[in-house]
């Protein structure tokens, strides 16, 4: 167990409710009481992140019963992807977790490349890492903006969105669109990196630490913020692991587990960064994990830019013509290229038979993609392991002995995105 043995546990034992781990049951002595009020935090609520429905039993201000209803954004991604070719299917995973969309693309594309046994050029790997880290910062910014908004720090929203727009400008420069870029392909990147990207990205990297200082300066020593986040929503390390938590929730509970360090993918073993771990397991610690991760991600982006600037002129996508579209100039001269292009666009490339589970560290935790291929041009089964789906399972445990005002803080700190939960 990767928790320092000398530190005292947050609470003794396990607070996971039983028999249903995800439902807080009203204690028997309060059932049927006149003071019990069942309130619906409906799917349309300003403070639930997206369309989450919580059915809460209140005894005065205490939350004594809680159950979550999800499915209000179920889009049938997995079924839709079974009907589309591998190439066209890359547009779908982005919309699952719409805040860290590059990570979703990345996990699907990594799974395809594993099954194909395709080697990705170095430039593509480093650029993917750079964009994935920018995406992590983007996701944390939107999380911070909305979580702080709900707790009352309304001005944080404008501060965070200032940096967020800068990141989206960088995306627009490279990928052509702000969100849902579909820039990662099986084999590398869709297009080369434009030369104007590096100076702009440097400006962002130089500014960002001051931005994070701004955010911390707004709330870190604010009495109200401290009262509303310290000691709220406790989750011990053992409970977090039993409940399948990952990402900032797990690291805020004291478990030093980050897929970028433990099972490095892309080029994470070649960059220097720290993984923040805090062990009080409350909302404050998860907030600090997010803030520190923003700083660390900025460092990673800076290192990626250093490497990428030296890779000008290198290929950005693999050379395997059975999978990757040939460059357009060749279509005018080479018959094989024309045929390859035709086959890839109409039928789609074929991925050999097999099944694989690939996991990356998205902004919310372990984002996994389980792909089954039958050797054809379309996936047989794609299943996404969404960290927010699992994070919502922990609401009942975190809400033991909480007040209704803490409900907002706790649900906010779990950093859920309903697109992921419902898929």
């Amino acid at each position: 167990m990767a928790v320092a043995p000398e530190k005292p546990r947050i609470y003794e034992g396990s607070r996971i409710p039983s028999p249903t781990p995800t439902v807080l049951q009203v204690p028997p002595d309060l059932r049927g009481s006149e003071d019990l009020l069942q309130v619906n935090f409906g799917p349309n609520h300003p403070s639930t992140h997206g369309v989450l429905r919580l059915i809460v039993d209140l005894h005065g201000e205490d939350v004594v019963g809680l159950s979550a209803v999800v499915g209000y954004l179920h889009t049938g991604f997995e079924k839709s992807m079974e009907a589309k070719t591998w190439w066209k299917g890359i547009t779908y995973p982005e919309r699952i977790d719409y805040l860290s969309f590059q990570n979703n693309e990345l996990v699907f594309v990594l799974a395809i490349e594993e099954l194909l046994g395709l080697e990705v050029p170095e430039k593509a790997t480093w650029m993917r890492m750079c964009l994935a880290e920018l995406n992590r910062i983007h996701s944390h910014l939107v999380w911070l903006a909305t979580a702080a908004l709900e707790l009352g720090s309304i001005s944080m929203f404008w501060y965070c969105f200032r940096e967020r727009d800068t990141i989206l400008d960088l995306y627009e420069m490279v990928c052509g669109t702000r969100m849902h870029t579909r820039y990662f392909q099986a084999g590398g990147l869709a297009e080369d990196i434009p030369r104007g990207f590096f100076p702009e990205a440097r400006k962002f990297v130089d500014w960002m630490p001051k931005g994070v200082d701004d955010y911390e300066g707004l709330v870190d020593r604010n009495e109200i913020w401290l009262e509303r986040t310290k000691g709220i929503g406790l989750l011990s390390a053992d409970d977090a692991i039993a409940l399948g938590q990952s990402g900032p929730v797990l690291r805020g509970s004291g478990v030093d587990w980050d897929l970028r360090k433990a099972e490095p993918y892309l080029a994470y073993d070649q960059v220097d960064f720290n993984v923040p771990v805090y062990d009080n397991g409350d909302v404050w610690d998860r907030y600090k994990v997010h803030m520190d991760e923003m700083r660390e991600s900025t460092r990673i982006v800076a290192q990626c830019l250093d490497r990428l600037e030296g890779m000008e002129g290198q290929p950005w996508i693999a050379d395997d013509r059975k999978v990757v579209l040939p460059p357009r100039e060749e279509l005018h001269t080479s018959m094989e290229s024309l045929i390859h292009h035709f086959k890839i666009v109409t039928e789609g490339y074929r991925v050999p038979e097999g099944e694989i589970y690939v996991a990356v560290e998205s902004a919310r935790g372990e984002l996994g993609c389980y792909v089954v291929s039958d050797g054809g041009p379309r996936p047989w089964r794609v299943k996404f392991r969404a960290p927010s789906f699992v994070a919502l399972e922990a609401t009942a445990t975190c809400m033991t002995d909480a007040l209704v005002a803490d409900l907002i803080a706790i649900v906010g700190s779990l950093d859920t995105v309903m697109g992921e939960v419902d898929r």
């Binding site: 997995e78 399948g244 589970y357 996991a359 996994g368 039958d374 054809g376 047989w380 919502l392 399972e393």
Partner: protein, 175 residues
């Protein structure tokens, strides 16, 4: 390991095929003796029509090139046949070692699988999703109800015999 039927390795991953009746025993053994304390994902797969004709975009059929359809390629190789219709895949992880393993249980239509909620509480919602979308009955689950679809929805959408639904798309040039 109790209940183990087969071990497979591919793409750097190990898959342990387990008898569904002894699943809880096997998983408890994995959690306590082997250290797999983290259940990452529960994925249910429907293999109806696996390797058959006209499924997943094949142009030919299992016997090869279809001479009556010029330009068809046929299958390069028939996919390996699967033992039963449904597979329940449990992806396990050992924190802090970082070992991963997949536990696979094969089920027929209507064959239930025991719940893993006593072993890893996180299995709760994953198993509800498997029931809701794939129709795999979980025995002993404390709250087996629909989670993503509406409560009165009929059918299990992710099954291969469930249509994708939606509307036919009309184009502006048509009548």
């Amino acid at each position: 390991m109790p209940g183990l039927v087969e071990t497979r390795e591919a793409h750097g991953e190990m898959t342990l095929v387990v008898d569904p009746a002894r699943l809880v025993e096997a998983c408890t053994h994995l959690r306590d003796s082997e250290g797999f304390n983290f259940l990452a994902d529960v994925a249910a797969t429907d293999y109806l029509g696996w390797g058959g004709r006209g499924v997943a975009g094949y142009i030919g059929d299992a016997s090869g090139r279809d001479l009556n359809r010029p330009g068809s390629q046929g299958l390069e190789r028939t996919p390996e046949p699967k033992p039963k219709r449904f597979a329940m895949n449990y992806h396990l992880l050992a924190i802090p070692d970082g070992r991963r393993v997949r536990v696979q249980a094969w089920l027929d239509e209507d064959e239930p699988v025991p719940t893993l909620v006593p072993v890893w509480p996180t299995a709760d919602w994953h198993e509800r999703e498997a029931w809701d979308l794939m129709g795999i009955r979980i025995e002993g689950h404390p709250n087996l109800s629909r989670i993503l679809m509406e409560d009165d929805w009929e059918g299990h959408p992710l099954r291969k015999d469930y249509p994708i639904g939606g509307e036919p798309v009309r184009f502006s040039g048509e009548e």
